[in-house]
C-alpha cells in the first residue's frame, strides 16, 4: 500500500491538538493509580534512570578507588559492598526492566495499534512490585550493605554477615515484576494486534520484546526459586548448598546461571529491537532480512537456555559437560552474527540521515560487536581457563551491557523523545553527548581487556602496581563517560522547557506509533488502525526496481 507519513501525521503547529496522555488527568494521584501503559512506561523510565544514576555513581567511586594500587579512600569491606551493589542494582533494578518495562510499555501497544496492553491493572501491579523490590534493595543498603557479588555464590552468601536475605528478597520480588511484565506482553502481542497486523508486519522492536518476554516468563521463575533457596538456606540451614552440612556449593551456580545466562539476553534483545528500528528509519530503507532478524531473536531465546555452563568452566564441573556448553555457546554467535550483518546490509544504498539517534545506532554496531566477539575467547574452553574472573570478563560484559543495551537505550530515548515528551532536544548537544559517551566508554573498558589478559583478577580493591597504568587510563575514561551521561541528562531535561512542540512524525517513520500525535492521546488512536503493509515501507524506496516487502 502507499505510505503517506506526512499526510497522516497531525500538523505539528496545530493549536487544536487534543489533550495528550500527559495532560489528560492532573495531579500526583492520577499518576500513582494510572493504568495507561504510556504513563507506566514513563514512570518505569524515571525509576530505572534513577537507579542507573545511583549504580553509575557507585561505579565511579569504584573506578576512583582503583586509581592507585593501594587502598585509598575505601576499606576492603566498603569496596566489596560498592561493587556488589553496583552490579546488583544495575542488573536487577536497571538493565532488566530498562528497555522492556520503560520503552516496551510505552511503545508496544502503540506499535501494535492497540489501546493498551492486555492487562493494564496487572501492569500497574508490576510497577508496584518493582517499587517494593527497590525498597528492599535500599533497605539492604542501609542495613549493613551486601558483599557477595551480584552472583550470590554459596557458601559465601550463606555465611556473609551482610544483609543477604534482604537483598535476595529484593531480587526475588523484582523477578515477579519481570515475570508479570513478560506475561502481559506475550498476551498483548498475541491478542491485541490491530486488524491487518499480521506477525510478519510487526515492527522488529515488537518481535524483540516478544522474544524477551518469552525468556522472562520461562527463566525468571527459576531465579525466584533459587533465591528462595538461598534465603531458606540462611534462615533454616537446609544444607543443600552448604558443604559443611552435606550440600553442594556448585549446585547453586547451576541454578543461578540457568536463569542469569538467559537473563543476559533479556538485557540485550530489546536493545537489538531498538537498533533495528533506528537503522531502518534513518537510512530510509526497508530492513534487510526482516524474517532472519525476527526469527534469530527467537533462536537466541531458545539456545540461551542451553549454555549456562559456560560460566562454570573452571568450577570443577565434568569435562564433558564443559565441552558441550562450549559448543552450544558458539551456536548463539550465529544468529547474533546474522543480525549484525543484516543491520549493516540495511545501510547499503540507503539515504542515511545522521541525527543523534543514528549516531547511537552506529556506535552500537562497534561496541556491541566488540563485546560479542570477545565472548568468543570466553566460550573457547582452554582460553576461558585463563580469562575467567579477570578484568577481561568485566570488559566483555560492559561492552555488551553498556556498549550494547545502554547505548541502544539512550539512542531509543532520543529517537522517541518527541513522541514521549512532545519536545525536541538540541541535535548538536545530542551529538556532543554521543561522542563523549563513545570515547569515554571505549577508553574505560578497552583497557580492561588488556588488564584481564595480563591476569588482573576482578573484585580486587587493591592490586599489583604493574597494573596501575591501565587502571588509571580506565578510570579517566570512566570520568569522561560520566561527564557525557550527565551532559545528556542536562540537555534532555532542558528540552522539556522548550516552547516548540515535537511533530507527530519527526523522522518520517512508518510504524504505527508515528501515526498518532506527539505525545499520543490517552487512548492512542481515535479509531483502531487497519494495517496494510510492512512497517518499513518508506516513500524513498525505489519501487520501480521490484520491491517485495514481506507480507
Amino acid at each position: 500500500m502507499s505510505t503517506q507519513p506526512a499526510s497522516t501525521s497531525i500538523n505539528p503547529f496545530d493549536e487544536n491538538r487534543e489533550t495528550d496522555y500527559l495532560r489528560a488527568k492532573k495531579g500526583l494521584m492520577s499518576w500513582l493509580v494510572t493504568v495507561d501503559h504510556k504513563r507506566l512506561g514513563v514512570m518505569y523510565g524515571l525509576a530505572v534512570l534513577f537507579f542507573f544514576l545511583i549504580a553509575g555513581l557507585l561505579a565511579i567511586l569504584l573506578r576512583t578507588e582503583l586509581f592507585t594500587p593501594d587502598q585509598d579512600f575505601m576499606s576492603a569491606q566498603t569496596y566489596n559492598q560498592v561493587f556488589t551493589l553496583h552490579g546488583a542494582i544495575m542488573v536487577f533494578l536497571f538493565i532488566i526492566p530498562s528497555v522492556p518495562a520503560a520503552m516496551g510499555n510505552f511503545l508496544l501497544p502503540l506499535m501494535l495499534g492497540a489501546k493498551d496492553v492486555a492487562f493494564p491493572r496487572l501492569n500497574l501491579l508490576s510497577f508496584y512490585i518493582y517499587s517494593v523490590a527497590s525498597v528492599f534493595f535500599i533497605a539492604a543498603l542501609l542495613n549493613g550493605g551486601l558483599d557477595t557479588g551480584w552472583t550470590f555464590y554459596t557458601p559465601y552468601s550463606t555465611q556473609s554477615g551482610t544483609a543477604v536475605v534482604t537483598a535476595t528478597a529484593g531480587a526475588f520480588i523484582a523477578g515477579f515484576s519481570s515475570i508479570l511484565t513478560g506475561l502481559n506482553f506475550i498476551v498483548t502481542v498475541h491478542k491485541m494486534r490491530a486488524p491487518g497486523m499480521t506477525w510478519n508486519r510487526m515492527p522488529l522492536f515488537v518481535w524483540a520484546i516478544y522474544a524477551t518476554a518469552v525468556i522472562q516468563v520461562l527463566a525468571t521463575p527459576v531465579l525466584a526459586i533459587t533465591l528462595l533457596l538461598i534465603i531458606i538456606e540462611r534462615v533454616l540451614g537446609i544444607g543443600i548448598f552448604d558443604p559443611a552440612m552435606g550440600g553442594d556449593p556448585v549446585l547453586f551456580q547451576h541454578f543461578f546461571w540457568f536463569y542469569s545466562h538467559p537473563a543476559v539476553y533479556i538485557m540485550i534483545l530489546p536493545g537489538f529491537g531498538i537498533i533495528s528500528e533506528l537503522i531502518t528509519v534513518h537510512s530510509r530503507k526497508h530492513i534487510f532480512g526482516y524474517k532472519a532478524i525476527a526469527l534469530s531473536s527467537v533462536a537466541i531465546a531458545v539456545i540461551s537456555f542451553l549454555v549456562w555452563g559456560h560460566h562454570l568452566f573452571v568450577s570443577g564441573q565434568s569435562e564433558l559437560v564443559g565441552i558441550l556448553f562450549s559448543f552450544l555457546t558458539f551456536a548463539v554467535g550465529v544468529p547474533t552474527a546474522i543480525k549484525v550483518f543484516s543491520w549493516i546490509a540495511t545501510l547499503y544504498r540507503g539515504s542515511i540521515v545522521y541525527n543523534t539517534s543514528m549516531w547511537y545506532a552506529m556506535a552500537f554496531l562497534w561496541t556491541f560487536s566488540v563485546g560479542g566477539l570477545t565472548g568468543l575467547p570466553l566460550s573457547t574452553l582452554a582460553i576461558d581457563v585463563h580469562l575467567h574472573d579477570t578484568y577481561f570478563v568485566v570488559a566483555h560484559f560492559h561492552y555488551v551491557m553498556v556498549g550494547g543495551t545502554v547505548v541502544a537505550f539512550i539512542g531509543g530515548i532520543h529517537h522517541w523523545w518527541g513522541k514521549i515528551t512532545g519536545k525536541m532536544f538540541n541535535e548538536t548537544a545530542g551529538k556532543i553527548g554521543c561522542l563523549l559517551v563513545f570515547i569515554g566508554f571505549n577508553v574505560t573498558f578497552m583497557t580492561q581487556f588488556f588488564l584481564g589478559h595480563q591476569g588482573m583478577p576482578r573484585r580486587y580493591y587493591a592490586y599489583l602496581p604493574e597494573y596501575q597504568t591501565m587502571h588509571q587510563v580506565s578510570t579517566v575514561g570512566s570520568w569522561i563517560l560520566a561527564a557525557g551521561l550527565f551532559w545528556i541528562m542536562i540537555y534532555l531535561i532542558a528540552s522539556l522547557f522548550n516552547k516548540s512542540r515535537a511533530p507527530a512524525n519527526p523522522w518520517g517513520g512508518v510504524s504505527l506509533e508515528w501515526h498518532t500525535q506527539s505525545p499520543p492521546i490517552e487512548h492512542n488512536f481515535h479509531e483502531t488502525p487497519h494495517v496494510h503493509g510492512s512497517p518499513y515501507d518508506f516513500p524513498e524506496i525505489d519501487k520501480s526496481a521490484g520491491f517485495h516487502a514481506p507480507h
Binding site: M1, K115, N184, V187, V222, I238, D248
Partner: protein, 225 residues
C-alpha cells in the same frame, strides 16, 4: 501503512464486563486464558526448581532419603491426595455451572471445593504438628535424634526439602482459598454467566495446577520405594 477505519462493532460491545481496551468479549476471554496458561507455566517452572533439588538430594543420599521418608505419614498424605482429587472434580463442576449460567451451582460447587481445601490444610496441620513434635524439622533445627528417632546420614536435608516443597504447595492452597472466596463474593453479586466466566475458569485452572503438583509430591515424598 495504515488508515483510520471504522471497525465493525460487535454485539457484545456493550457488555458491562468488557474492559475499554478490548474490542470483543471473545478477545478479552482469550487474553485472560492465555495469560493464565502462561502464569501456570511459570508456576510449574518454579516448582520444577524444587523438584530438581529433590532429585539431586535423592541422587546424593539415596539411603538417607529412603530411610527418612518412612517417617512421613502415608495416611495423612493419602487422605490429602483423595481430598485434592475430589476438589478438582468439584472445581470442574463449578466451571461447568458458570458456563451454563447456573449461579447457584457455581456457589455450591465452590463451597465444596473450598471445603476440600480446608480439609487439606487441616490434615496438613496435623501432619506438621506431628513432625514438629518429633523434632523432624528442616536444616539446623532438625532434632529428631533427641526424640529417639535415629535416621542415618543427613536427614536434615530431606526434611528441609520436604518442608520447602509441601510448604510452598500449602501456600498455593491458601492462595487458592483466598481467590475462591473472592470468586464466591462475585458469584453472589451475579457477575458470572455463559458470556462472562473467564475468572471462574482461570481459578479452576489454577486449582487443577495445585492438585497436579500434589500428585507429583505425594509419590515422590511419601512413596519413595
Amino acid at each position: 501503512m495504515s488508515q483510520a477505519h471504522d471497525h465493525a462493532h460487535g454485539d457484545d460491545d456493550h457488555n458491562p464486563f468488557l474492559a475499554h481496551h478490548f474490542d470483543t468479549m471473545g478477545q478479552q476471554a482469550g487474553a485472560a486464558k492465555l495469560g493464565m496458561w502462561l502464569f501456570l507455566a511459570t508456576e510449574i517452572l518454579m516448582f520444577s526448581g524444587l523438584f530438581l533439588a529433590y532429585f539431586i538430594t535423592r541422587m546424593f543420599y539415596p539411603e538417607m532419603v529412603l530411610e527418612a521418608h518412612e517417617h512421613l505419614s502415608k495416611i495423612h498424605g493419602g487422605v490429602n491426595t483423595i481430598v485434592l482429587l475430589t476438589s478438582s472434580y468439584t472445581m470442574a463442576m463449578c466451571v461447568r455451572s458458570a458456563q451454563t449460567s447456573n449461579t447457584a451451582g457455581i456457589k455450591r460447587w465452590l463451597l465444596l471445593t473450598m471445603g476440600c481445601g480446608g480439609i487439606f490444610m487441616f490434615v496438613k496441620y496435623l501432619e506438621y504438628s506431628a513432625k514438629f513434635e518429633h523434632g523432624m524439622l528442616p536444616g539446623k533445627y532438625y532434632s529428631a535424634h533427641l526424640h529417639g528417632y535415629e535416621i542415618d546420614g543427613l536427614p536434615h536435608i530431606f526434611f528441609g526439602v520436604y518442608f520447602m516443597m509441601t510448604g510452598l504447595h500449602g501456600f498455593h492452597v491458601l492462595i487458592g482459598l483466598a481467590v475462591m472466596t473472592w470468586i464466591y463474593i462475585r458469584a453472589n453479586r451475579g457477575d458470572f454467566s455463559a458470556s462472562n466466566y473467564a475468572a471462574v475458569e482461570n481459578t479452576g485452572l489454577y486449582w487443577h495446577l495445585v492438585d497436579l503438583v500434589w500428585i507429583f509430591l505425594f509419590p515422590l515424598l511419601y512413596l519413595v520405594k
